[in-house]
């Protein structure tokens, strides 16, 4: 069970109030008609699927109903930060030290509350 900090409500709430909505920071091509089939297919269907730090959108569905971003580790499931739409993450896969990665993987048992 996640305990998620909604950056708009300014409070931690339980996972059931939220829905995950997939990869964050996707940009719709400015001129879809100018895209090749590859570019358009990549935009529609291809997603980052990292084993590690992931940036994703969540919606506070039964709260403020706003979308926001979450940086989360996909093995330990640890939520590293949440931030508003339009903002950039302060934690990325590159900024995470190797030591931290190792520690996260070794914590695989049990979902962090």
């Amino acid at each position: 069970m996640f305990y998620i900090y909604c950056p708009y409500c300014g409070e931690h709430r339980e996972e059931e109030e939220f829905h995950p909505k997939g990869q964050a920071h996707l940009e719709r091509p400015k001129e879809p008609e100018a895209c090749s089939d590859e570019e358009w297919g990549d935009y529609l269907f291809f997603r980052d699927n990292p084993r590690g730090v992931h940036h994703e959108m969540w919606v506070h569905a039964v709260g403020c109903r706003k979308f926001f971003n979450v940086t989360r580790h996909t093995v330990s499931y640890e939520i590293l930060e949440t931030y508003k739409m339009g903002e950039q993450p302060s934690i990325t896969a590159d900024s995470q030290s190797q030591a931290r990665e190792g520690a996260a993987v070794s914590q695989q048992e049990g979902v962090r509350a």
Partner: protein, 416 residues
């Protein structure tokens, strides 16, 4: 290979069952193979088995980072059916179904395939229209299927709440009598034993850490036990496929999600078929041991942790108790998660890749177990010939650029 038989059982009883031979060897890796299969789950082992047995490629290694069948093969709810809507997927799953029907004899290994039938329930008028359309499509493809009304469902499953006062009343169902369940572990073990008998090297606790690629062609893999060379490499790594694709320098349109399942304490025989509901969203069957085997939808977020969240378990059990009030006080024994690689169109990828000689068989999402023999067979044919098998052809990864998707979302009778 020591063949199994009733006579053998009696013979070994005389020596207190202490002299059974090991089912497969534990060989040291050779420097070079004709084909390397990455991933020792059901699909990977089936691929190796058919490569050696039917397609004459015997110098094969299966590389598995953990132990055989320890991933989704061990974590699914063992349902086998082939009642898919579209021609492409119907051909693939029915190919698998035909192989299931002779599998125990073929492998000389009891996979406990039990054709007890599968019900896909309809709870709304639209459900029933979709069911009629799907059953008609199935019949045109030579797949058995019937549309039942609520009375017909109640006769098959007397313990289910089919009354009009249910929150989501059962209006009817599709019924595939040839569908059923199989013993998941036995499938992995049977294929492993068969492949080993045909000379396949099964390398457990061997993890692929990279691909050896030169001029856009693959010529081997790096592993934690040294480099191994092969001009053909097939990856069958389910939830970890994206990680391997990245090692090959390309992306796949996959997202890995946790999918949870659970079993109850063993109870006396009470449910002799498989019941699935897309609308209320849960599925249930009873194993030979007596436990109720229960599953439902994925956890919506990406994850590689082989576990999910409690609200998903709660929703699953709400659905089961809604359909079967009689189970409301059955206690659950175990719960677990597997990592499923879901595709945007809920159909697998069996495909060549941008790297020559490197093939992927992935994207099976929540429904790979039922396809194990068919998937292995067509993938083996493709690896052996260097050209995709006609049944596998439509499942190319390049369909996400061409637009020729095979949209089984919802149409397949269960949400993915």
């Amino acid at each position: 290979m020591q063949r199994y038989s009733g006579f053998g059982l009696v013979k070994h009883a005389l020596s207190h069952h202490e002299n059974w031979e090991r089912q497969w060897r534990n060989p040291t890796p050779k420097k070079q193979y004709d084909v390397i299969i990455v991933g020792g789950g059901g699909h990977g082992l089936a691929t190796a088995y058919y490569l050696a047995k039917e397609f004459g490629v015997k110098n094969v290694a299966v590389i598995e980072k953990g132990w055989l069948g320890g991933g989704n093969t061990a974590r699914n709810t063992t349902i086998v059916r082939s009642n898919y809507l579209w021609d492409e997927s119907a051909a693939l799953y029915e190919h698998a179904m035909k192989l299931w029907e002779g599998l125990s004899q073929d492998l000389n290994y009891n996979v406990m395939f039990s054709q007890r039938g599968v019900l896909n329930l309809g709870h709304t008028l639209q459900d029933m229209r979709d069911i009629q359309r799907r059953v008609n499509a199935n019949r045109l493809n030579g797949i058995d299927g019937e549309v039942l009304d609520a009375k017909g469902v109640q006769e098959l499953v007397p313990i289910m709440d089919c009354s009009a006062s249910a929150r989501y009343p059962v209006m009817g169902a599709s019924w595939q009598p040839r569908a059923g369940v199989a013993r998941h572990d036995a499938v992995a073990w049977g294929y492993a034993r068969g492949a080993d008998a045909h000379g396949v090297d099964i390398l457990q606790q061997t993890e692929v850490t990279g691909f050896k690629i030169r001029d856009g062609k693959i010529y081997g893999v790096h592993t934690n036990r040294g480099d191994i060379e092969a001009k053909t490499v097939g990856c069958v790594t389910a939830g970890n496929s994206s990680v391997l694709a990245k090692m090959g320098g390309f992306n796949l349109p996959l997202e890995s999600h946790p999918l949870q399942a659970l079993v109850s304490e063993p109870i006396k025989p009470i449910l002799d078929t498989v019941v699935m509901s897309n609308q209320v969203h849960g599925y249930i069957s009873q194993s030979d041991k007596g436990d109720l085997v229960i599953g439902a939808g994925i956890d919506g977020y990406n994850g590689y942790g082989q576990r999910g969240s409690y609200p998903t378990v709660e929703h699953t059990l709400q659905a089961i108790v809604e359909m079967f009030p009689i189970f409301s006080r059955v206690r659950m024994n175990r719960q677990w998660g597997g990592i499923v690689d879901t595709c945007p169109d809920a159909c697998p990828i069996i495909s060549k890749t941008p790297v020559k000689g490197l093939y992927f068989n992935c994207g099976w999402g929540t429904g790979g177990f039922k396809a194990t023999p068919g998937s292995g067979h067509v993938f083996a044919a493709s690896l052996a010939k260097g050209e995709m098998h006609p049944i596998a052809e439509p499942f190319s990864m390049f369909r996400f650029h061409s637009g020729a998707l095979i949209d089984e979302h919802g149409a397949a009778g269960v949400a993915h």
